[in-house]
Symmetry: C2
């Protein structure tokens, strides 16, 4: 043990500390820990007891299950040494590798997108052929019902089972998770390959089954997951090459965050053929931390993903057509090409646009509100996996029966000549015509949306549209919240396009001159209004729509409609993603602190049961601390506990602040016995690599595993100074909530140490302490509330 | 004086301080100031001696003339009281007023844009008619030269004189100023109405004179100036109404920054008819501080400005045409409508796109480099106003003579039938045809760019294009840097479009099938490559081009070209704005700290001559401090000076940190005798209003004016605590440059107080201390340098 002390790679002035240590610790009087033992025991922030908790069935709580990410750079003596050794050559190499990583993210995301798209098209075609076969050839409705049910229920069971039994976190569109992660909340298993796999399978199943869920939302999540995993794949590939030195600095939460933002944009870019829209969506909805260099990377990624996806799809198309070489074949526009000359907008149409926006906003708010109530019901009554599976099967049965019944009840025949699609069913209609409503149920969502936009005005009757709109609204409402990967972009667009088309038929009926046989314009605006009313994005959706229609003329009308829809919706409820985030209790921090909070000081809301660690202590003591607490970060201090007074109350002071260390770092130090060898030029690289890995791939289970240590090692001394961050961000007791919030949120921190007037640790602030203050808005009033932390 | 002490509106625990004060101060022993008098005297940061300084003629310096803005919210006992009183009703009212302000920014910017546009068109038409009259009717070349010179030199003299003699800060495009301001640098007279006026006059003159400068860049600056002034106009209008309470919280640098970002976007949106592009340009080039709520406001502003500008211009158009009601008349697209069907891109064209990008990047880098050398020459030799004016006249003469000579020398006749423009000159050509090159010199820039994009391939010969391209390159090079408001957007586009057209003629000559008589596609790409190579924006330019052409098909080719141009350009030089910013010594802080700087600690680069003020002191002492120092911020402390040791060296400690106060705040306290009345519920509102105004409208002259105070008031005690910020952001001596930089930059601070281990002030960090560390890049190498501060 004395050897350990002698070999510390420290300059002479450290010797004083050693003497102090000896007298305090080797004699077996660990002053600090003893004095505030109570504060170093089981804390309320217990990340392991996820399931045993009483959940609140509301949006007025914050869950303590979530931890913050470390967007703050890890700095210690180790990293300083590394920087000195590496030099700018490594920085340049890292920059190059970073761009390569972004490139591979784009390619991988596009590849996954192509796979999903192809799988859906293949199975959908099979489904359609089988159903048409039994209706139009065999004329057997019972057989048809059974086959249709098979094609709906079977994928539903598969899609739901993989989620339930393999990876529950893959449920839903995943966009709330992406938003939360980019805000700095650690979402468990966000980058697990299994989650990616389950997500892909589930989204394919949802689309085959014809449920009210699209593949676009999940593709954003998938892009983000790809973005989060790729750097790890790179690191593994270059594990033992010299290039690994340049990947090391990219291995942190901050870089991963940027890569996930880029991946999300690539996903949307591939899904809608909208690189600029994808970039903007990633910025508007997701990214909490922004810089112009990030914007370039995101755009780069989106710009690569779009032609890659397109080229991949074009290879398929060449089977039938020969225009694969042309970049701008019609297939490039997701919504189909809008014929320019037919779509003039005049200023006199602006009131109509505003009405569309208002209607979309109200309908969107209704959707969100119903979904909220449904989610609460689900949380209360559909708890077991068996019930969840049954629920999915019920929704699948609903969609099949309602489709078939609507086809039988509203038997409207249309001549095939009006449209250029073959995926329709004749049923009882005369030859050369088809059952009108069948086109909705047997088209993929992309085909349906294009038919709503581009079919001539008399090709779809108003009855069919109303029936479709109502059934699809219910279906989407039911699907969003199932344990499957279902996005709501396309379903919302379909609902909106349907009612937009209804409006244009009505207008056409009363003043035929106003819309010259082209309902596509208003169908598009309806779709925009509906989606805007649910999602509440403006600028990014405008651009997505322009890129998806290939028509810049829609710019102004779309802006007006989307702004109105957003404001109207915001007047009534939160957006759907905000609602889902609040329901899951994610401690999201909005970009600005709540107003009028500068009279709340840090003293009022910090947690004052800090577990401070002396900078030199015995291994045994450290192990005990780790095994008995659940804290994730520990201030490192240099003197004993005392008490200090402020205006308001008396505080326990945990000693002079020296630095800050994370649990994951302590785990590595103990697990790999780093304390046995003093820090020197030969081993700091290995040590740093170990610590970096632990921070990067930290899984909850590993983080809190019980440490065991030999009895004779318990009395060895550890000097934490080479490993700790010597200058954590600090605030003083008097600092207001406003300032503390801004510091925490803007820098993306995980802990802020609170010190008193004499630089002694008196408290600590984590995400939970700030997220519990929440601004509520209702129509034109607002206020502050403090929600519960469970 | 004892009365003053008695009446302090403080709770009992403050009494102790008073006793301490009495014993220390009333006895005439002002311990602190006396002890470190030297550090409270003339500092190097002397903002008044602007002109007497030795300027460095390079980009390797940072000027100490510039101060930071206060993006940090002012917090003190006063604001806490205000918040408590106001309540959330005021917050809601402020929100509503904020949107109204943004609305008025958009309208005002569009109105100024319409005025500029109309003025230019009117005068240009006059100029054209006069010149055509003397050439085609009178056939007198001498008279023509004189008239042309009059129309060029006269506006140049006016445009240059207003700048030189009224408002020198209105020179140039102004975009570097906007970038700097949004980065947090206080640019003097940025929002002065006189500057706005001079800018408008100057830009109109530049365009009439036909110099190589456009109106688009200045329009961005004008938008930003409007954005910066409007809130003040609102405040003045509601000076004595109850609504003023709600405008108060909007009066700070932070809100102004957001409004200027929105104004800049509105300016670009009006200039190019590109609301989304404007928003993105504001984000990509300008905004250093971003949040999604800012993005909405910026987009809102841009979205309003675009149709307003358009409607205003349409009213003009109705004189001739009748389609004013249609939103999407051809006039909506700045570059003219590109015929969709003619512009297919195939994947085999991608190498051509990349070559375009590389060429544009190289030419752009050349432009920037030449402009840099020219600027240095100008700084050295063209110093007096007279010389500057002569220089402008020389450039004006150059453009006139070279235009006329080129028209005579390269007399190429084209039949008028090919084009639909009437603004051409017949000269010596046969009837029904026109002098080809005249179309460039007698069109406005908008018309020229449209003719380059849309004229059939044989309408402009390759000789004319080469002549135009070379002359215009030289002209633009000369114009950018004159003391006039000239932007480089349109000149760059013209140069690029010209060489793009040359390339397409060459390709057409060798393989006529490849480009079917339509050079517009490559002209557009050339324009994009050239502008991208100079300005180095990618995503925003892509969107601007799409919105200006009305053609989404160009998305992918534009992205490829712009990315290549940016990367190629960055390989050789900085972008033009970056270069201009560095030349003027603006201490811009980039978004990320320079890499490998965690071994530089705050101790190494902070300024340790702090002028700390005790929290209770005599008025006379305070006046002396303000009159003898040039500091802008003062730490408020509570004990006497001592010395403390760290590892590296000994530091002077200036006492226990209590808070922070700005010079502007102290000025108000002394000027309005705020210290005579203790703080109570009746007067804090007035006091706060005075302080807020002083912070907001702080002019250098007023800030540093000498304070005079009666001799008998000198011994009254001031308690600074109600006015100071009680919890400034702090760092410790050991903190690395990386962390300090990040804290300063991310939060947009003006000062950071450095404290030692026992919370005593040992130093202060301002923008200069951080901006002097600069990363240099040259091809593939990089490194850190510390530039000088002058």
């Amino acid at each position: 043990m004395s050897k350990t002390i002698k070999n510390y790679g420290f300059p002479t002035h450290v010797i004083n500390y050693h003497h102090w240590c000896k007298s305090k610790f080797i004699n077996g009087v660990p002053c600090m820990i003893h004095n505030h033992e109570d504060s170093c025991r089981s804390s309320p922030n217990n990340a392991l007891e996820l399931n045993s908790k009483q959940r609140s069935h509301s949006i007025n709580f914050v869950s303590s299950d979530y931890e913050s990410l470390d967007y703050d750079h890890y700095e210690s003596e180790l990293t300083v040494r590394e920087e000195k050794l590496n030099g700018y050559r490594t920085v340049v190499a890292s920059n190059v590798i970073r761009w390569l990583i972004y490139f591979s993210i784009a390619i991988c995301t596009a590849a996954v997108g192509i796979f999903i798209d192809t799988a859906i098209e293949y199975f959908y075609d099979w489904k359609y052929q089988s159903i048409r076969n039994c209706i139009d050839v065999k004329h057997s409705m019972i057989e048809c019902l059974i086959i249709w049910l098979l094609f709906t229920v079977l994928p539903t069971i598969i899609g739901c089972s993989v989620v339930l039994f393999m990876e529950p976190s893959a449920a839903g569109s995943g966009i709330p998770f992406v938003i939360s992660y980019l805000n700095g909340v650690r979402i468990p298993r966000m980058t697990a390959v299994r989650c990616l796999f389950v997500k892909v399978v589930s989204v394919v199943c949802v689309c085959i089954a014809g449920l009210g869920g699209g593949k676009e939302g999940p593709l954003i999540h998938i892009g983000a997951m790809v973005g989060g995993s790729v750097v790890e794949a790179w690191w593994r590939s270059f594990r033992n090459s010299p290039g690994q030195k340049s990947i090391g600095p990219l291995q942190n939460d901050r870089e991963r965050r940027d890569m996930m933002a880029a991946g999300a944009a690539a996903g949307l870019s591939a899904a809608f053929g909208a690189p600029v829209g994808g970039t903007l969506m990633s910025l508007e909805e997701g990214t909490s931390f922004w810089s112009s260099s990030l914007m370039w990377k995101v755009f780069f990624c989106a710009a690569i993903a779009f032609p890659t996806f397109n080229a991949g799809k074009n290879i398929q198309f060449t089977k039938s057509t020969n225009d694969s070489d042309s970049v701008d074949s019609k297939s490039i526009y997701f919504f189909g090409k809008f014929n320019e000359t037919a779509y003039y907008f005049s200023y006199s149409e602006f009131p109509v646009l505003i009405l569309f926006g208002i209607f979309g906003g109200v309908l969107g708010a209704l959707f969100v509100n119903l979904n909220y109530r449904l989610s609460i019901l689900r949380m209360k009554y559909i708890v077991s996996n068996r019930k969840k599976l049954l629920e999915s099967v019920f929704v699948a049965t609903f969609v099949t029966t309602s489709s078939l019944i609507s086809m039988v009840l509203f038997e409207n025949c249309q001549p095939k000549i009006k449209i250029n699609s073959s995926n329709v069913i004749q049923m009882n209609c005369p030859a050369g015509s088809y059952n009108e409503i069948s086109s909705f149920w047997l088209h993929t969502q992309e085909e349906s949306i294009r038919s709503l936009f581009h079919y001539p005005i008399d090709a779809i009757s108003i009855t069919s549209l109303i029936v479709f709109c109502v059934i699809y609204f219910i279906l989407t409402e039911l699907t969003i919240g199932l344990n499957m990967s279902a996005g709501l972009f396309l379903p919302s667009l379909l609902i909106g396009a349907a009612w937009g088309r209804i409006v244009s038929i009505i207008i056409h009926y009363y003043s035929p001159d106003f819309i010259i046989n082209d309902p596509g314009k208003y169908a598009l605006l309806g779709a925009a209004a509906q989606l805007g009313g649910i999602v509440r994005a403006t600028i990014s959706l405008t651009v997505v729509f322009i890129e998806a229609t290939g028509n810049v003329q829609f710019l102004l009308p779309l802006m007006i409609t989307l702004f109105t829809a957003k404001w109207t919706g915001d007047f009534f409820t939160d957006g759907i993603y905000e609602m889902q985030i609040k329901l899951s209790g994610v401690p999201l921090l909005v970009s600005e602190p709540p107003p009028l909070t500068s009279d709340i000081t840090t003293e009022d809301f910090m947690s004052d049961t800090v577990c401070a660690i002396p900078h030199i202590l015995m291994v045994g003591k450290l192990v005990d601390i780790l095994n008995t607490t659940k804290h994730n970060g520990f201030p490192v201090v240099a003197s004993k506990v005392c008490f200090c007074r402020t205006k308001a109350k008396e505080h326990k002071c945990y000693g002079l602040l020296k630095g800050f260390i994370l649990r994951s770092q302590l785990n590595v130090i103990l697990e790999h016995n780093l304390y046995l060898t003093p820090l020197h030029d030969e081993n700091y690289c290995t040590k740093l690599k170990l610590i970096r890995n632990s921070m990067y791939t930290c899984e909850d289970i590993k983080l809190y595993q019980r440490l065991n240590i030999d009895e004779d090692e318990r009395s060895i001394l550890i000097d934490l100074r080479p490993y700790m961050n010597p200058s954590p961000y600090i605030v003083r007791l008097e600092t207001s909530l406003t300032r503390t919030f801004r510091l925490f949120r803007t820098l993306g921190l995980r802990h802020i140490v609170v010190i008193n007037n004499t630089n002694e640790v008196v408290g600590i602030i984590t995400r939970m302490d700030l997220a519990k203050f929440r601004l509520w808005r209702k129509a034109t009033t607002m206020g502050l509330k403090e929600v519960n932390v469970y």
